[in-house]
C-alpha cells in the first residue's frame, strides 16, 4: 500500500481533473441507478400475469344505429356465424374489454348502505356463462357460471351470483375469505360463487388494477362490445374476416376497433414503453459520454505528467509500477465518485418518490450500476495507463 501516498499527492496537484471525474461519476451513478430502477419497475408491471389468454383473444365493437334491427336477435346470429369460422372457439357480447382502460366501475359493499360495512372500488365486466372460459381465466375457488345463472337484458332483474377477483374478496371479507358471501351495490345483492386469483381489471395501471367483478348478464346495446376466442395461430385470419362477415349479415351498423387483446394491452402500456425507451437512451448515451470523459481526463492527466513519469522511471520505477499507479489512482477517484454518487442517488430517489409516483429506489439497481461503472472506468483507464507505462525514462532528462 506504499503506492497510495504518491497517488494522493499526485491527485492533490491535479485537483481539477480529479474533481471533474468525481463529479461525472457521481452524477452518472445517481442518474443511471434511478433511471434503471424506474425501468425495472415498469418492466415488472408490463410483464405481470393478467390471467387472460392474450394471444388468442380478439375484441371488437358494433355500433348499431338502425333502430329497426332487433339487436338481441342479430347478435345471436352474428355469434352463431362467427363460431362457424375455422379457428373460432367462443364468441360473446361483453360490457367492456379487459386491459383497455375503458369500462365501468362501481362501489361494492358488504352492506346495502355503502356508508356502513366495508366497501371497495372495483371494475365490473359482464357477459354470458361462457365469459370465464372465453377469456382464458381460471376459477381458483368455487365454481364457474352456468347457463341458469345468466340474466338476459338487464330490464328484468340483476344477476344474483358473481365471480370476484381475489383482491376484491380480500378487501371486503378478509384474507382468503369471501366465497359464498354476499356483495352489494345499493340494493342489488349477489352471492360470490367463485374467486379468481390471477386477473386484472380494465385499468391494469390504476389503483384498482386487481379489482374486478364478473357478472352473468347478457346485454344487447346499440354500442356493444364483443370478445372472440380463437386458436392462437388462426387469430390473424379470423380478425380480417370479422368486419366483412358482420356487415354482410346486416347493414345499418358500424363494426370497429377489431383488435387483438395483446395489442390492446400494448396500447395501454404505450406510455410506459416510451418511458423505458427514453430512459434507456439516456442511460446509453450517458454511458458513452462518461466513458469518453474518463478516457479523456486520464489521458490528459497523463500527458500533463509525462515528465514526472519519466523522472520516476529514471529513478528506478518499473513499468508495472507506473501502470499500477494509474490504475489505483483511477480507483481512488472512481470510489470517491461512487460514494458521492450513492448518496446523490438515494437523495434523488427520495426526492422523486416524494414528488412523483415513483417506486422506492432498489439497492440492487445502485449496486448493478456501480459495478458496471467500475468495469467501465477500468476499461477506459487501461489504454492511457499502458501508454504512461511506456513513457521512456529519457524524456525526464530531455529539454530541461
Amino acid at each position: 500500500m506504499s503506492e497510495i501516498k504518491p497517488i494522493l499527492s499526485a491527485l492533490k496537484r491535479s485537483k481539477t481533473g480529479a474533481i471533474l471525474l468525481v463529479l461525472q461519476i457521481a452524477i452518472t451513478l445517481a442518474l443511471v441507478s434511478n433511471a434503471m430502477s424506474i425501468v425495472f419497475d415498469r418492466l415488472d408491471k408490463m410483464t405481470q400475469q393478467t390471467g387472460y389468454d392474450e394471444q388468442s383473444i380478439i375484441s371488437y365493437l358494433v355500433v348499431t344505429y338502425d333502430k329497426r334491427i332487433d339487436k338481441a336477435k342479430q347478435f345471436d346470429e352474428d355469434i352463431q356465424k362467427l363460431k362457424e369460422l375455422p379457428g373460432v372457439i367462443e364468441a360473446l357480447a361483453v360490457s367492456s374489454v379487459p386491459l383497455t382502460r375503458s369500462g365501468g366501475s362501481w362501489m361494492l359493499s358488504t352492506d346495502p348502505d355503502d356508508l356502513k360495512g366495508k366497501s371497495v372500488d372495483s371494475g365490473y365486466l359482464y357477459g354470458n356463462h361462457t365469459l370465464v372460459g372465453a377469456l382464458g381465466l381460471k376459477v381458483t375457488e368455487g365454481r364457474d357460471f352456468t347457463e341458469n345463472d345468466v340474466v338476459y337484458d338487464r330490464k328484468k332483474e340483476y344477476p344474483t351470483v358473481a365471480i370476484v377477483s381475489r383482491a376484491v374478496a380480500n378487501a371486503l371479507f378478509g384474507e382468503g375469505k369471501g366465497l359464498n358471501e354476499t356483495i352489494y351495490s345499493g340494493n342489488n345483492a349477489a352471492k360470490v360463487i367463485g374467486i379468481i386469483d390471477t386477473i386484472k381489471s380494465q385499468w391494469p395501471k390504476s389503483n384498482i388494477a386487481d379489482n374486478l367483478v364478473l357478472l352473468p348478464l347478457q346485454d344487447s346495446t346499440a354500442y356493444q362490445k364483443f370478445v372472440v376466442k380463437t386458436t392462437e395461430h388462426q387469430r390473424a385470419e379470423v380478425m380480417n374476416k370479422i368486419e366483412p362477415l358482420l356487415l354482410e349479415l346486416s347493414r345499418g351498423r358500424v363494426v370497429m376497433d377489431v383488435k387483438a387483446l395483446d395489442k390492446s394491452k400494448a396500447d395501454t402500456y404505450a406510455s410506459d414503453r416510451l418511458m423505458i425507451k427514453m430512459l434507456i437512451s439516456i442511460v446509453v448515451f450517458l454511458g458513452i459520454i462518461t466513458a469518453l470523459g474518463i478516457f479523456g481526463l486520464t489521458h490528459f492527466n497523463i500527458s500533463k505528467r509525462t515528465k514526472q513519469i519519466g523522472t520516476r522511471r529514471a529513478l528506478g520505477a518499473r513499468k508495472s509500477t507506473i501502470f499500477k499507479h494509474f490504475l489505483l489512482e483511477n480507483m481512488v477517484v472512481t470510489s470517491l465518485g461512487m460514494l458521492i454518487g450513492v448518496i446523490g442517488a438515494l437523495l434523488l430517489g427520495r426526492k422523486l418518490m416524494g414528488v412523483y409516483d415513483v417506486p422506492p429506489l432498489e439497492n440492487m439497481s445502485i449496486l448493478l450500476t456501480a459495478i458496471s461503472m467500475i468495469v467501465m472506468s477500468l476499461i477506459a483507464v487501461l489504454v492511457p495507463a499502458q501508454r504512461a507505462a511506456n513513457i521512456s525514462p529519457s524524456v525526464a532528462t530531455r529539454s530541461i
Partner: protein, 437 residues
C-alpha cells in the same frame, strides 16, 4: 473584434478537429436529449388558449353528500349532474357559458356509396364556439329557437365537410348521425387545440370533435355519453329519465368572466342555487363547496402533464450537466496545450480580458455547432415518440420557440464549461510559456 475572435475560434477548431468533434458531439447529444424531453413538456404544458385562458373557468359543484370521497385532491367531482348543468345553463346571469358532453354517432350521407364511420360528437349549448374561439367558415351556430325545439341541425368542421362532400360550402346539405338526418347550419374552420382542455375526461391529447349538435338533443334523443359517467352513491336507475335526474356526474360546464366582480357574482349565484337545492334534500353536507378553475388551473388539477414527462426533463438536464463536466475536461486539455500561443499573444500585448473573451468566443462557437447536432438529434427523438404514442402528433414536435431556445441552452452550457479553462489560460503569466521555447 468579435469577428476576429470568431475567425480565430474557427481556426482553432479546425486545428484540433478530433477533440473539437468530440466536444460538438458531446454537447450535441446533451442538447438532443434535453430538447426532446423539453419540447414534449413545452407542448404539453403550453396554454392551449393563451389569450383568454384566465377568463375561461371550468365549473365544479360539490355534489357529494358528507361521508363520500372522490378521486380529485379536494373530493369535488370533475363533472356535473344533468339537473345542475341544465339549471346553470338556463338561469345563468352571464351570457357566455356552455354545458356539454361527448357523444358519438355513425356518420354517413344519403348516397349509395357512403360507408358509415364513427365520429365523436360534441353535444353542446350554443356558446361553445364563442367561448373557445372556434371560427366559422360558412354559416353559424344554430339559433336559440332551433335549440329549444331540439331541431335536427348540426355544425361540422371543414375537414369533415371535405371528407363527406368533397367541398366546404355544404350549408343546407344533410348528414346522417346514426339514423337521424341533420341539416348542416355551420361549417367551422379547422380547430385543433394542442390539449383538449375543455374535456380532459378521456385522453387530454385526443383530437377535438368535428361534429357539434345542440345540448337539448340529450333529452330529446336520449344521447349517451361517450366520456365518463360516474355515479357516487347507489341509486335505482331504471330508465333514461331516472338517469337524467340522478346524481350521476357526466357533463362539463364552462363560463367566461370579464372581471373579478363577475366571478364573485357568479360564485354567489352558484351558492344560492345549492342552498335552494338543499331544501330539496340534495347537497347533503355541512359546507357547500364549488370550484371555478381557469384553464391553467384546470390542466394542473387534472395532471395533464404526466409526472413521467417531468422526471424525464429533470433527468435530461442532469445528463446535460454530465456533458458539461465532460466538455470542461476536454476544453481544459485543449486550452492547456495551446497555452503557449496565449503566452505569445500576451507577450505581444493582448490583455487578460482579451485572451479570456477570445477563448469564450471559441467555446460559444462550439456550443452553436453542438446545438445544430442537438436539434437534429431531437428531431429523431421526437419522431420516435410520435411513432410510439398515438395522439402525440401535435405534442411531440419542436415549435419555433424551442428551436430558438436550443442554441441558447447549448451556448450557455458551453460557456459554463468554458469559464474555468479560459480563466486558467488567461491567468498564466506569459513568461512561463515563453521560457521553454
Amino acid at each position: 473584434m468579435l469577428l476576429h475572435y470568431c475567425d480565430l475560434a474557427w481556426r482553432n477548431i479546425k486545428q484540433t478537429p478530433f477533440v473539437s468533434m468530440l466536444m460538438i458531439i458531446a454537447i450535441g447529444i446533451g442538447i438532443g436529449v434535453t430538447m426532446t424531453t423539453l419540447s414534449v413538456y413545452h407542448m404539453m404544458s403550453a396554454d392551449p388558449i393563451a389569450h383568454k385562458s384566465d377568463k375561461l373557468h371550468a365549473v365544479q359543484l360539490q355534489v357529494l353528500d358528507d361521508g363520500y370521497t372522490w378521486r380529485t385532491e379536494d373530493d369535488v367531482p370533475l363533472q356535473l349532474t344533468y339537473p345542475d348543468a341544465k339549471y346553470l345553463l338556463e338561469n345563468s346571469p352571464l351570457e357566455k357559458r356552455v354545458a356539454m358532453l361527448k357523444s358519438g354517432a355513425a356518420v354517413h350521407i344519403d348516397r349509395p356509396d357512403s360507408v358509415p364511420f364513427i365520429e365523436g360528437l360534441r353535444v353542446t349549448s350554443r356558446h361553445f364556439f364563442e367561448l373557445f374561439d372556434v371560427p366559422f367558415l360558412h354559416g353559424n351556430v344554430w339559433s336559440e329557437s332551433q335549440s329549444k325545439q331540439a331541431a335536427l341541425v348540426v355544425v361540422i368542421s371543414e375537414g369533415l365537410a371535405n371528407k363527406l362532400f368533397g367541398k366546404t360550402d355544404v350549408l343546407g346539405e344533410s348528414i346522417y348521425l346514426g339514423e337521424r338526418l341533420h341539416e348542416v347550419v355551420g361549417v367551422t374552420k379547422t380547430w385543433l387545440p394542442t390539449v383538449k382542455f375543455y374535456d380532459v375526461n378521456n385522453d387530454p391529447f385526443e383530437a377535438s370533435e368535428q361534429v357539434f349538435v345542440p345540448f337539448t338533443h340529450i333529452e330529446a334523443y336520449k344521447l349517451p355519453s361517450w366520456g365518463n359517467t360516474n355515479g357516487w352513491k347507489s341509486e335505482d336507475i331504471n330508465s333514461f329519465e331516472d338517469f337524467l335526474n340522478s346524481e350521476t356526474v357526466w357533463l362539463q360546464f364552462w363560463v367566461e368572466f370579464d372581471s373579478e366582480s363577475q366571478k364573485r357574482m357568479y360564485g354567489q349565484f352558484v351558492l344560492d342555487y345549492m342552498t335552494e337545492q338543499q331544501k330539496l334534500g340534495r347537497f347533503n353536507r355541512k359546507e357547500l363547496d364549488y370550484n371555478l378553475k381557469t384553464v391553467p388551473q384546470w390542466l394542473k388539477y387534472n395532471y395533464v402533464v404526466s409526472s413521467d414527462n417531468k422526471i424525464l426533463v429533470g433527468l435530461s438536464f442532469m445528463f446535460l450537466a454530465v456533458c458539461v463536466a465532460n466538455i470542461l475536461g476536454l476544453l481544459l486539455a485543449k486550452f492547456m496545450k495551446r497555452a503557449p500561443d496565449a503566452g505569445v499573444r500576451r507577450a505581444l500585448g493582448a490583455s487578460k480580458t482579451q485572451i479570456f473573451s477570445q477563448h469564450l468566443v471559441e467555446v460559444a462557437l462550439l456550443g452553436l455547432l453542438g446545438s445544430i447536432v442537438g436539434v437534429l438529434l431531437a428531431q429523431v427523438g421526437l419522431a420516435g415518440i410520435r411513432g410510439t404514442m398515438s395522439g402525440y402528433d401535435l405534442i411531440a414536435i419542436m415549435d419555433w420557440k424551442m428551436l430558438l431556445i436550443a442554441p441558447v441552452i447549448s451556448i450557455l452550457a458551453c460557456l459554463i464549461a468554458g469559464l474555468f479553462p479560459a480563466w486558467v489560460v488567461c491567468k498564466t503569466s506569459p513568461a512561463t510559456h515563453l521560457k521553454v521555447q
